[in-house]
């Protein structure tokens, strides 16, 4: 196993600068997920690690070797592709054995490894079949199996679950996590699905526009997003943003928007006072809003009109309008409201986020 180090990695295509100055260290045995919307450069980054794409500038190290100039086959990596990319003319066994045969492993060793991998993945009975005779989930397993028989230093996954239906995806996600615990391998995983990123990653790398926006453990990225993009991208439904103006009144700071006046918690005041009289973006996650009784938590609640009610069973999503802003609230299923009714929503003061509207950077708690 090995650690992967990216130093100032850049990739320019004819007209686009797909990856901009990405520097990242992936520790030995770590499972790192690159996540971002399509076109953010995550797949290109992965393909550069694999050697399928040449880096325009910057360095890639796997273990203690600089691998920039090595072809994919010499990088000691295994990759699972989005389309699985199984060899259609070979049986499942041959698909899995292919990489080992190419590396001139003795036949016995190949057979042992393929059987072991097949057992781990529960595909022993499929070894004689051709890929076209397999279901999507089975193909997925074979693709993973083909990677693990190789015992590579690094596993690369390129959106491996995105072609599966929702139920199977959840199941495979759990299996991948279990597999990683078992193999203890360094893994780089690319997805556009933030749920996958949060659940699988030891660390999550949020990318946007070719740049790394934030690197951190899932809950850290969720709890303290560094900028507005990360805040909006991680979490579903995504964070609500309110364009407010900071005003001072009777020694306290308020974030004001038409129809809403929210007190800035004392511990945030110090940093935010610099914004007095200026606009600031307030962010609050739907799950941090709850319905409140009449004069609960004054200053930290506001009145809104319900527009859409989406009962999900374990919770209810409310699309509400407060002043001229649309917000989503995730409330308890016991909440009884109908569209067009008024509701009072309160939020936990320590859970709100502030962003500078110009730089879109988060305004930190303290300096």
């Amino acid at each position: 196993m090995a650690r992967v180090v990216l130093k100032n990695l850049n990739k320019k295509f004819a007209e686009t600068h797909a990856v901009k100055d990405v520097s990242l260290t992936i520790e030995d045995r770590e499972f790192v997920v690159l996540v971002g919307p399509s076109g953010c450069g995550k797949t290109t980054t992965l393909r550069m690690i694999a050697g399928l794409e040449e880096a325009t500038s910057g360095e890639i190290h796997i273990g203690d070797r600089r691998v920039n100039d090595l072809p994919p086959r010499d990088r000691d990596i295994a990759m699972v592709f989005q389309s699985y990319a199984l060899y259609p003319h070979m049986t499942v066994y041959d698909n899995m054995a292919f990489g080992l045969k190419m590396r001139k492993f003795p036949r016995r060793e190949i057979e042992g490894r393929v059987r072991d991998a097949a057992e781990i993945l529960g595909i022993q009975d499929l070894l004689g079949r051709k890929p076209r005779q397999l279901s999507g989930g089975q193909r997925q397993r074979v693709a993973v199996g083909r990677a693990i028989v190789r015992h590579p230093r690094v596993f690369l996954f390129d959106e491996p679950l995105s072609n599966l239906d929702a139920k199977l995806r959840v199941q495979m996600r759990v299996e991948l996590k279990r597999l990683h615990d078992r193999l203890q391998a360094t893994a780089v995983y690319v997805t556009h699905d933030q749920v996958e990123a949060m659940t699988l990653g030891d660390r999550v790398v949020v990318m946007h526009d070719g740049r790394v926006q934030q690197v951190g453990e899932p809950l850290e990225v969720y709890g303290a997003p560094r900028n507005r993009f990360v805040a909006g991208f991680i979490g579903s439904p995504s964070m609500n943003f309110l364009e407010t103006t900071v005003a001072e009144s009777a020694g306290a700071l308020y974030a004001e928007a038409p129809g809403i006046r929210l007190r800035v918690p004392a511990e945030r005041s110090k940093r935010l006072s610099a914004y007095t009289g200026r606009p600031v973006t307030l962010g609050i996650r739907p799950e941090d809003l709850c319905s409140a009784a009449g004069d609960d938590s004054p200053g930290f609640s506001f009145e809104a009109v319900v527009e859409v009610v989406e009962p999900l069973g374990s919770e209810i999503l409310l699309d509400v309008r407060a002043g001229n802003a649309s917000l989503v609230a995730r409330v308890s299923p016991a909440t009884r409201v109908k569209p067009h009714e008024k509701i009072r929503l309160a939020f936990a003061p320590e859970r709100i986020h502030f962003f500078d509207p110009e730089t879109e950077e988060a305004i930190p708690l303290s300096i």
């Binding site: 004819a14 694999a50 072809p71 295994a78 990759m79 060899y87 590396r103 083909r146 190789r150």
Partner: protein, 287 residues
Amino acid sequence: MRRSGPFRLAGAAVHRAVVLLFAAFAVFPFYWMVVTAFKQNSDLYVGAMNTAHNPFIFNQAPTLDHVKYLFTETPYPTWLFNTLSVGLIVVAVTLALAVPAGYSLARLSGRWGERLGIGVFLTYLVPSTLLFIPFSRLISILGLQNTTWALVLVYPTFTVPFCTWLLMGFFKSLPAEIEESAMVDGCSRLGATVRVILPLSVPGLLTAVIFSLTLVFQEFVYSLTFISSVEKMTVSVGVPVALIRGDVYYWGSLMAACLVTSVPLAVVYNLFLDRFIGGITGGAVKG
């Protein structure tokens, strides 16, 4: 909206009728060829005024005379051999050039790949009636006049561009991820192409082979221009030269020659019909 019963029935009837019409249209020449090849001369050549005579069927017992004449009294076996040997060499040359060219064009992404591909295809469209004059000069400079090597040299000028274009479309339809996967698994690019892409390209390769063979079998202008000795001719030129004497057409033997030449191709074509169509449309429609 679903159409009601009688309309649907009428639609199906029209559909059948049209299919039948086209089938008859396609089969008729072949049928005429078979009937003519095995008719006795007295059944073939009757006065135009004889309206009682039905030309579409055997009025007298079929005969093998024309086929015998073809194989014993003309150098037809030699022509067949010439055609086949030229055909096989041309197929080999075509594949050797068109496979790497088609693959490169397919994987050369961006506008240039497309432009080059179209450019290659355009060269195929230049008619042989225009090209045979410069070619004959070239052939004489190379000292290849009146040899089948002249044809081996010239035929690839139209088989290679077409097959390159055809294979390019086919390779494009194969996902690049499959060969990338092979490259990660331990192949070089060449290795990935040989071990993974070529086995998957069999329908496309077959299409290229059948197409090249058909072109060689039917080519007339170059063969007529470059070959003058009867024993070096190919079927397409030898047969009309030997069996049309002045204004006398040896129809029976002519048709027998066509039959013998076209049946193997037709059989091969039909055996691989599905794959052949897969080869042609594989390029047209992106998977």
